[in-house]
Symmetry: C2
Subunit: 198 residues, 2 copies
Amino acid sequence: MTPPTFLPLAEDPAPERRDAARNRDAVLGAALRLVDEQGPCAVTMDDIAASAGVGKATVFRRFGSRAGLMTAVLDHTEAEWQAAVISGPPPLGPGAAPMDRLVAFGRTRMEQTLAHAELIEAAGSTTTRNRAAYSFIAMHVRHLLRELDVRGDVPLLATALLAPLEAVVLRQQVEVEGLSTERIAAAWEDVVRRVVAG
Amino acid sequence: MTPPTFLPLAEDPAPERRDAARNRDAVLGAALRLVDEQGPCAVTMDDIAASAGVGKATVFRRFGSRAGLMTAVLDHTEAEWQAAVISGPPPLGPGAAPMDRLVAFGRTRMEQTLAHAELIEAAGSTTTRNRAAYSFIAMHVRHLLRELDVRGDVPLLATALLAPLEAVVLRQQVEVEGLSTERIAAAWEDVVRRVVAG
């Protein structure tokens, strides 16, 4: 009699796949930590490989290129921020008044964009990711404007409120004009309150 | 006796310099016409040289590169629009009510940016030009907001109103979301009126 054969279980990946996943996590973790400490431009692939305890070839095998790894870092931090918006504590997450959520959204989005401006450049132009991230923030702001009973062309009012949070606008203000993020955030909140007051 | 020598007069350039200036004008004129007719991506340096009645080497001698010529085209159209803002007919130029001027500013700036989005890409990243153009529009909007007695952080309110007119925002709306420029302009006017009403 031949022994019974089993279909492979999804929960039981081959050792090669487990190693690959472990390496991927180690590299991504090292990249997140080093980018946070040194900024994306200063971090080398050698540093990341050494910190993750893998060979540089493994880094390239798992992420394709430096830009690919920076995209993964960006996607990870974006996903964490989105999770905080959807289900994190108030005022950013649910449970606060819509205006308080909107103000918290603007402040944290601004910090996120400024912190990641270099990373966005290092990741290169990945239109698909940009569109997915943009769809999320546009849906969220429209939802809050409707909760605030704003009348008019709500989708386009949302776009107009999101425009000052674009990297190109924020970087001009911070890096060229030398404005503080506190002043920029206060002005954004003022615009939001004027638009909502209608 | 030797004949008297004269210093060259500024009004009497050497024939080479007159030719150079004439060629430059002919090339720029041809480039403006062809970019307007065909869009900047479709226009070749051969087309421009042939239309200007000069050799291709002359085009490169006068403008350095394709990007250099596209920058000159962009500078020329930007200067024409700025002249219309400063001293053209109302409502864009002086003589209209500040709110009418602001609305006309937004509409023409939007058209300008959308028409030139490809040209801005063809000209490459020329930060100095961008900053000069940005300074002009920022000064103009601040001036009109002050004329409208807007209270608050006027420079940053101006920035917030200019942000939806950035190429990256307008192209997303027109090219990705398929929105009409009429709807975008109407929403911008709505935001302006809400911000001014305070």
